[in-house]
């Protein structure tokens, strides 16, 4: 009773506008308005525009007209697009498996008390912090066909006799890109999984050890299931970021050699911005959407199942 009396007295002193903010619904609306405006203007509206663009025949400097699904039909029959789809899935799948395995390994290595742990943890996150384009240039320089330090090392170790043209061969180029993506992603997996590991009580491990579980069994039957919820969210983020990646491929190969290493985003950029075929570029970008949507839905359902179990 006293509460309402006081707040009633208080609200008498407030201006009408502020009194309106006492109502939770009005306050919520006011607080969400800036976000809604910005996201509406620069996400919802572009999405709608993108759909319209992909259904038209627009080019740079040439307003197009409605052509239905013609652009999608065209890219479906485009052999470069098919390679692109395959590349994107291969790239996402391989990197995710390695990032998870290596990230988990690194997290386990860090989940102990030792001298200098804080410094090591701070340093290993660097590949994730430093702007991707800039660190990718360092890799491109390391993979340079003529001046490659990797070739030099392999040569000095007696493992190769002729140079390896890392970015000149389609398969090697894709592998190089995969290596760099793993390099950049492992710290993120390691640090977030480490946070997950730290929430697991060491007593569970001790109990399992007393019951005679080997280290591998302790990992598989104690750590892994308890870590599952964190793992799933980390994988979800990583899969989406990797699937839609652009910077790495753009810098390393630009989609080459002979369009063999394109991902959705780089091919969309090449057609839409490079050659000015805006509609086809938008269609390729949007072709990511159903895949992303399925990935998100499946992962969210799976996360919910794991969490309610």
């Amino acid at each position: 009773m006293a509460v309402t009396a006081l707040s009633a007295a208080e609200s008498k002193r407030l201006s009408p506008r502020l009194r309106k903010l006492e109502d939770e619904r009005w306050l919520a609306m006011a607080l969400l308005a800036p976000t809604a405006i910005l996201l509406g203007l620069f996400i919802a509206y572009p999405f709608f525009e993108g759909v319209m663009l992909s259904l038209s025949s627009t080019r740079v400097g040439e307003p197009g007209h409605f052509v239905g699904l013609k652009n999608f039909h065209k890219i479906w029959n485009d052999s470069i697009f098919r390679t692109t789809v395959w590349n994107t899935f291969w790239y996402t799948g391989v990197t995710t498996v390695f990032k998870l395995a290596l990230g988990l390994w690194l997290a386990i290595l860090l989940n102990r008390h030792f001298k200098g742990k804080a410094i090591i943890r701070a340093f290993i996150l660097l590949p994730f912090i430093i702007p991707t384009v800039l660190s990718t240039f360092a890799w491109k320089w390391m993979f340079d066909p003529t001046f490659s330090v990797i070739n030099w090392t392999l040569f000095q170790l007696g493992l190769i006799t002729t140079r390896i043209n890392w970015l000149g061969d389609p398969d090697l180029a894709m592998t190089s890109i995969i290596v760099i993506n793993i390099w950049r992603g492992v710290p993120f997996f390691a640090i977030t999984l480490l946070a997950g590991l730290q929430t697991i009580s060491p007593e569970l491990h001790e109990a399992a050890a007393i019951d005679g579980a080997r280290p591998w069994q302790r990992f598989w039957h104690v750590t892994w299931p308890l870590l599952m919820p964190v793992t799933l969210v980390v994988v979800l983020f990583s899969v989406i970021q990797t699937f839609a990646d652009f910077q790495l491929v753009y810098v390393m190969t630009g989609g080459g050699p002979a369009n063999a290493t394109h991902l959705f985003a780089t091919y969309a950029y090449q057609l839409g911005i490079g050659t000015g075929l805006l509609s086809e570029g938008a269609a390729i970008s949007l072709a990511m959407f159903p895949f992303l949507f399925i990935i998100v839905v499946v992962q969210l359902l799976y996360i919910r199942r794991v969490e309610t179990r």
Partner: protein, 283 residues
């Protein structure tokens, strides 16, 4: 943790950890060495005799000087700094308010809006860059810093909101109710009681938002065209490669210097950064 024999600790823990650290940090070492290496040493073929790739006895500043004298590098740094700071402030403002509303207020469709924010959190920039470029042009924002300042919040706000929701949910409701009993309005209770308690969260989101905007590439690449408007990642990419010729010395110098602001911010707030990163995946 049950510790075994010394050799076992080295084989299973220390050596793998050293290898991880070596591989994760080597490209940065390579960046630094290249920055200070004279051109004459830089372009020795990989199988040349006496080639000593990991060290140089003739360090030089020529690449750094080239960067400042022959390119707009200092301008790119200022542009990036300005864009990253302003878009971070905008995103924090929006994200804190939206996070507060979604975490602590009862209103219709709160759940639906929370899900919508989470979904925009998952929208990659590469999905929308072509239509967005058209929209930026129609708004007459092309080739200005505002094209980025207004679009970066599209991926920063959902992130900040999501992170702040976690922090706000952890603050007990009683704190606010006490203030309300003492006669504070909802608005005042939020601004003076709840938000100050959430400052660590604001710091975490701010730092991550800053590094994310510094890192952003595709929007900056597509929306900006004149050399003096570019950000560091785009400037380095487009101005230090002419045709097929890579200016590796200045390129590595640019990569090194362009990373320093992020590295400084990160080194001062490592703990906040890590807690933000781990908070962002808590779902």
């Amino acid at each position: 943790m049950i510790e075994g024999a010394l050799w076992r600790r080295w084989v299973f823990y220390n050596i793998p950890l050293i290898l991880f650290v070596f591989v994760l940090l080597f490209p940065f070492y390579w960046m630094i060495v290249t920055t200070f290496r004279p051109d004459g040493e830089l372009y020795l073929p990989w199988n040349a005799v006496n080639y000593m790739p990991f060290w140089t006895n003739n360090p030089t500043l020529e690449h750094i000087l080239y960067l400042f004298e022959e390119t707009n590098f200092s301008r790119w740094m200022l542009n990036t700094m300005f864009i990253a700071l302003v878009s971070t402030v905008i995103s924090l403002f929006c994200g804190v308010l939206a996070g507060y509303a979604l975490a602590r207020l009862n209103f219709p469709y709160a759940g639906g809006l929370g899900t919508a924010i989470f979904i925009t959190y998952l929208v990659p920039q590469t999905l929308l860059f072509i239509p967005l470029a058209e929209i930026i042009r129609n708004f007459q924002l092309g080739d200005t810093p505002w094209s980025l300042i207004l679009t970066y919040p599209t991926f920063l706000i959902p992130f900040c909101t999501w992170l702040m929701m976690g922090y706000f949910k952890a603050i007990p409701k009683e704190l606010e109710e006490c203030a309300r009993i003492d006669g504070a309005s909802r608005w005042k209770a939020m601004v003076y009681i709840v938000i100050p308690v959430a400052v660590p969260g604001i710091l975490s989101s701010g730092i991550i938002a800053f590094t994310l905007s510094w890192n952003e590439f595709i929007y900056a690449l597509v929306f900006l065209s004149s050399p003096d408007q570019k950000t560091v990642p785009v400037g380095v990419t487009s101005e230090l490669i002419r045709g097929d010729v890579f200016f590796w010395g200045p390129l590595m110098a640019g990569a090194l210097l362009g990373s320093i602001p992020v590295a400084i911010v990160y080194s001062f707030f490592v703990e906040h950064y890590v807690s933000g990163l781990t908070g962002s995946v808590k779902g």
